[in-house]
Symmetry: C2
Subunit: 301 residues, 2 copies
Amino acid sequence: MGFPRQVRLVEMSPRDGLQNEPGPVIATAIKTGLIDRLADCGLRHIESASFVSPKWVPQMGDAAEVMAGINRQAGVRYSVLTPNLRGFEGAQAAGVDEVAVFAAASESFSQKNINCSIAESLERFLPVMEAAGKHRIPVRGYVSTVMGCPYEGDIDPQQVATVAKALYDMGCHEISLGDTIGVGTPLKAKRMLEAVAAHVPMANLAAHFHDTYGQALANLYAVLEEGVAVIDASVAGLGGCPYAKGASGNVATEDVLYLLNGLGIETGVDLDQLVATGHWICGQLNRHNGSKVGQALGGNC
Amino acid sequence: MGFPRQVRLVEMSPRDGLQNEPGPVIATAIKTGLIDRLADCGLRHIESASFVSPKWVPQMGDAAEVMAGINRQAGVRYSVLTPNLRGFEGAQAAGVDEVAVFAAASESFSQKNINCSIAESLERFLPVMEAAGKHRIPVRGYVSTVMGCPYEGDIDPQQVATVAKALYDMGCHEISLGDTIGVGTPLKAKRMLEAVAAHVPMANLAAHFHDTYGQALANLYAVLEEGVAVIDASVAGLGGCPYAKGASGNVATEDVLYLLNGLGIETGVDLDQLVATGHWICGQLNRHNGSKVGQALGGNC
């Protein structure tokens, strides 16, 4: 298909980046400060919180306060994760622009991660989809473990396609394909994408790759060649899956942006400001900056 | 051209990896231990030392002892850097299998790095080429700053092609194209490679990419698509250019091997053993393991 002219970067750090952060719960002001800075960088889609029980994810317990505290900018889509109807109701009351639901391509991962089968998880989303439809709030669908599972190993691309199609058919406007444990390589990414794209239009697909084995940018380059035009990433590489060995989580937004700039693909995001934001949040969290571009362009890392 | 079926990995860590290591001079036994372990992993081409004045590069002062101390394995090419005739004579006396010379694509980088113009550096290699020809020792040619220079910024691909062709015409059997400061991106890498391949056969080209901005694997994937079949890398990402900002140096061999394995490209190198070797040398040097694959697959990093 050839490279897209523009890519929408979906910034994951406030949710996927912070949700597993160890230590005390991060102050709401730091979260809203991060989100506002990300919007100032030019990011137009920011996953800002998760409306989930604080028993499960203590770092996301202040989701409503976060949504109330940010300085909403026109043209920015503030989305949140809503695993169930209760979460959706909280999100809707907080005035979010988009919600998201989360399924796995691996049966074992689904069982261990959310305590139900893939089919059961899809059923649980139905009331969310219905309520979202009523309020005309778009729903994003995540599919995890699309290139491998910590329990099952390889995942059949057809299985990924089946789950992605189920989410799309159920009304999700965009399906984000997650290499949760970062085990993919470029041709595997292409084969997986091709299987999904046979059932869901390319324009409705996003790549959500973790960098656990250092392959994320090569995999992104490979799916950009296929025409993917939406990429999930996290500033300073914040985040990580507790089920994956090794420290790395989300691919760093700075590194993705450097790649896209080099390919002449427009994003509307300012690299220097993004690098500064990455250093700012790492300073707030006293955390290593996981972006190579961030490291190369200086700051306290 | 399509992917090569096999790739020869040229292991850089004993030379490019260790030459700028700060602190006291590393014991010869550690260097030979590293080289022997690398050969045990299945690597068939190991740049083992640099025959250069210890005044310039103290870490390489024991090049002759290193060459004498390794357990030579049949089928392994032990190469060394020889910037001048005196270096060549030491290397030849030490019984090396290959020597290498080093030129820049950037005039400013040549002046600041080796105190002479590009043309002068090429002239200085003539006696080395002549002596190597007499002893039938193959010569590898490096071209640095092929995708950008810390002083000049962008480098014209035609300028890279001119220097690469000069080295090839002078008798170098292989030209290694170095993104010394790691600023390249995939399409830039392809354009640079295409310019060079118009003058030097693809089979005689190698990719030597640093990972300063996290782009090395994406760039390698892009040049593999063009048919490059020789890749330079350094276990645990050892090394780094003192002229580049940021900590990163050579792309990690483990990460490159993971990519190649995923693409179904043969190398003859064992990943687990290579990961263990990366952790071993990092333990010896009390150094962070710069390989994401190394980090993901455990060990003391």
